[in-house]
Symmetry: C3
Subunit: 132 residues, 3 copies
């Protein structure tokens, strides 16, 4: 089984906490132990893990990512979203989290974030759990 | 079974689309459902996912990666390829893609790219499929 | 089974080679073939793969990462470690390595590094092996 859910982003760049959705898919799968794969099937959005407590962390991450990869930088790609493509590759398109006793074994401060770099849009996330 | 194939790069920095090779290995494995691991066993080349339609996206990614991590930057490492080591870690050494009905479940615009940062060279890629 | 071990870092920023620890966990698991997941349950430390021969590579990587994401950059997050959060997301929180004949199938020059960005501290690493 591959599970799928939608994320509706509301900003051009935005981190959306999807930890609860990922845990929901793990519950649906009925798997008690294994590894959960969270995969983003896009090229201008990605997924990362980071702090889920102080929203300023996400604010700083987005601001700094814009300094590292400026939105305008004489890119060739006509659609004008090259910066989003690069940021997505820097974050990566999947996260792998161990499943233990039916739950994602994340650290205390870890949340899973869908990272939108070319929104707002409706996006998809795939989730798969392998038993073991 | 671990599958292996070679990539011959022709430039110092180059993204080579290996999506068809990865799908070929999935077919060989005979696995209908699971997760495919694409692993690059090098330290100055890596793997990422990105747009497979407009080649300007890859052009912009390479140019911008050179701005983020300049090829010359008073590095200590005598071999002169420190920038390649750093870029490889930024892209990452593996991709994980869900296998569904015998095929990689990629997004419409997604391709898997072998990312050469210290070519031209002959390189290897490992592929493994876990069933589930 | 989920395996766990501790890493004690001694610097604010430091790469600690954990390849032997990961191989030790693979041995403990008794798995001959599959995939090993190395997961860091923190938000200011991460994991990457890179060269295990010349220590200057790690020196250059740390110096360059500080240029890409400066430690001070008018961040909002009051704890003062936003740069560490960003660097951790750039490196990523997991590595996946194929297990073949009871060993991690790494490339000749590859080592697995715990990447500390907000030390010194006592940290944890989770290891899980899926058979297949």
């Amino acid at each position: 089984m591959v599970y799928e859910f939608e994320v509706t982003t509301r900003q051009n760049m935005e981190f959306v906490d999807i930890t609860h959705k990922a845990n929901e898919m793990v519950s649906k799968s009925g798997m008690e132990n294994g590894v959960c794969f969270i995969f983003v099937p896009h090229t201008t959005a990605a997924v990362t893990i980071n702090e889920n407590a102080d929203p300023d962390v996400v604010f700083d991450m987005l601001k700094e990512l814009n300094k590292i990869v400026p939105i305008e930088d004489q890119y060739r790609h006509m659609e004008g979203n090259s910066a989003a493509h690069i940021k997505a590759s820097l974050m990566g398109f999947s996260e792998q989290v161990i499943v233990h006793n039916g739950k994602l074994k994340l650290g205390t401060w870890q949340g899973i974030y869908f990272t939108e770099f070319d929104g707002p849009r409706r996006r998809k996330v795939y989730v798969k759990v392998l038993k073991g």
